[in-house]
Assembly symmetry: C2
Homo-oligomer: 454 residues x 2
Amino acid sequence: MTEPVKYVLDESRLPKSWYNLMADLPSPPPPVLHPATKKPVGPDDLAPLFPTALILQEVSTEREIEIPEPVREVYRQWRPTPLFRARRLEKALGTPARIYYKYEGVSPVGSHKPNTAVAQAFYNREAGVKKLTTETGAGQWGSALAMAGAFFGLEVKVFMVRVSYNQKPYRRALMESFGAKCVPSPSPETNSGRAIWEKNPEHPGSLGIAISEAVEVAATNDDTKYSLGSVLNHVLMHQTVLGQEAMAQMEMAGDWPDIVVGCTGGGSNFAGLAFPFIGAQLRGGKKVRVIAVEPAACPSLTRGKYAYDYGDTAHLTPLVKMHTLGSTFVPPPFHAGGLRYHGMAPLVSHCQELGLIESRAYTQTEVFAAGLQFARAEGIVPAPEANHAVKGAIDEALRCKLEGTARTILFNLCGHGHFDMQAYMDYFAGRLTDQRYDEKELAMALAGLPSVPA
Amino acid sequence: MTEPVKYVLDESRLPKSWYNLMADLPSPPPPVLHPATKKPVGPDDLAPLFPTALILQEVSTEREIEIPEPVREVYRQWRPTPLFRARRLEKALGTPARIYYKYEGVSPVGSHKPNTAVAQAFYNREAGVKKLTTETGAGQWGSALAMAGAFFGLEVKVFMVRVSYNQKPYRRALMESFGAKCVPSPSPETNSGRAIWEKNPEHPGSLGIAISEAVEVAATNDDTKYSLGSVLNHVLMHQTVLGQEAMAQMEMAGDWPDIVVGCTGGGSNFAGLAFPFIGAQLRGGKKVRVIAVEPAACPSLTRGKYAYDYGDTAHLTPLVKMHTLGSTFVPPPFHAGGLRYHGMAPLVSHCQELGLIESRAYTQTEVFAAGLQFARAEGIVPAPEANHAVKGAIDEALRCKLEGTARTILFNLCGHGHFDMQAYMDYFAGRLTDQRYDEKELAMALAGLPSVPA
């Protein structure tokens, strides 16, 4: 009998509730502030953007929030997702470490994003909403929401950062396959977009601008709400299905992680894996080292300031306290489009302040090299975002080799790279560079952070 | 409790053997003939191309052939694959039919092809082979063999039909991610390729030419063997893991198909699903209607001649009796590259002659429309090849609606379309045409079939 490589949970073990880290934190994160009054926001302030159920989840301190059965029914199509032991990678590295990875690439759109897209579409449908707007960079989030919209009969409009709209036509085609409408941003369709578009119709756009456009459309149309793919508390919470499953699967393997690794852009896949482990630790369980890995070209956790900032460029969103590079910061080009956001989820930021997680940054050429080593050993070509987690896990495994210590490492392989082969082609052709951000621009963006009364 | 949408087999139920339809057929298929002598080939004739173990499998009449443990260990990474009940599609169609699909897109390269690639790489490694050559059209097969080669430490050289090499750089990048070498065919690297390449270095190529090149390299290098992704008996047999799993999953669902549907190019994914069901029927089990769906632009089963023909353009391969459009037939352009082969697997052809299967052909615009209807209901965007099976299943479900009959339909969703989004973009843009082949060219190709002594 060979050793197991895969741990599969029976469908009956699909989590029945999402896990809310707020219940176990020693202190709550700072309040969200209204952009005009700079006073804490109330549910009414958020009502134009989100249905009540999601607003309540955003501020809930209940440990467990029940997953509605129609959401679980959709989840069941690909959940519980497999947990793999990376035995061939361990052998290739010659490490005594045991490396496990949770694999979210088995979802129909190839990433973890449907975990929250399906939940958000459900609650909006229940609230009588007809249309959803959102933004997308590389397109993982947009395609997940497009699929969820098709399932629940909602129209979906996606503002796609123009440079990605032009460079990633296949992600756009995927969204359109599900019947969603995809608009290059900045667009003439909104006030915030038009102001930029009129000066330069070929403006490359940014996530911050696209968020402004999507928020504006939702705020000004009664039948339309806004949907966000990361950063917010309820979004991170929806992702905890994956971490809860991973805990059950680690038990099945008779093992438990010493180290948990995830990549961070807005923070949702990282939180989805890490929060259940952090919560268990806070409730007296085993101490786990949790490592957030981010791109060196957009290093909010390792180089950003922990401060109140806007989520978007036009400053339509509330102010949240987070590790931020400043809402005007524009990172240099790199391929992990899902990690190109100026801020970090407030809850992830708060965890770092509390010393519950550590963070590190890698350049893109080193993460692609790690991703290819993984692909040749394990057969799965990771998304560029996921390569950051792969690199973090491999580095820890190599440290084990150096120290002769057999630690258990668990990381989240949040998606496959089938839509990102251009990035691999660029890597093979030597066209990937490790361009650094401009220190002066970062300093300026940070100097422009809004002032908030103490 | 909601109704199940997914049937998952425990890892312990991964098949222990491949199923060989030869054991249950009422008569054997006609013998394979040597291209020069036109006498039946013996194992020695095939030895330059294949390792002994695979040659023995090719001619075996044993019902079950044990799957080696190292092959099962790799299979276990993604097998058993899920069987889904397409409840949302049923609802969208308003059909009383129960529609099930076996989903092979969960393999690391997104198709069923690794089922045989892994087995072939294993047997070649065991035989001391260092290098494998093969051909690929759209790239599903090439990427599967590239991955399997990486797992078993074999160098892989893929002759890729030039038009696909240029139009599908992402499949090529996937092969290169696994360390394989990809060569546009016709190439100057072989005698058969050079003869064409010298006249036109930009010749678009064909599967027939690429096979000639790959066979030539294997035949003329001691450390190199040839690997084929479809058509041959042993390749079809390796795919029966999926049909055997589907049988167990249908039992788990408390149901059994009245109709089994698969798409056919060379025949391997179709045979993988259908042969175990046909075998059970031949041994006295329930009668099942089995439908092979092929592209109207390359209709070997519905318009080809059942005759001896070569597998390649340069006539280096043995002669096999099959439904063929003639080895010189060039189909008009269409997107399902995996179905652009002039011949059909001899065993599938023989089944049609015996009345065990029926066949039908669809045009590409109608199969893309069916694929999109499926995607919006089920979330999975199928590969263009798989869209043919989707269309076949939907048509049967609509017939059930018309007749008011609740039949059970099972089809094979042999792969996802994440690498094929250009085809969907072309469809959305109205650029997909249903170009017919030229009847005169088909007649000429058929007139040129080799004469074989009775």
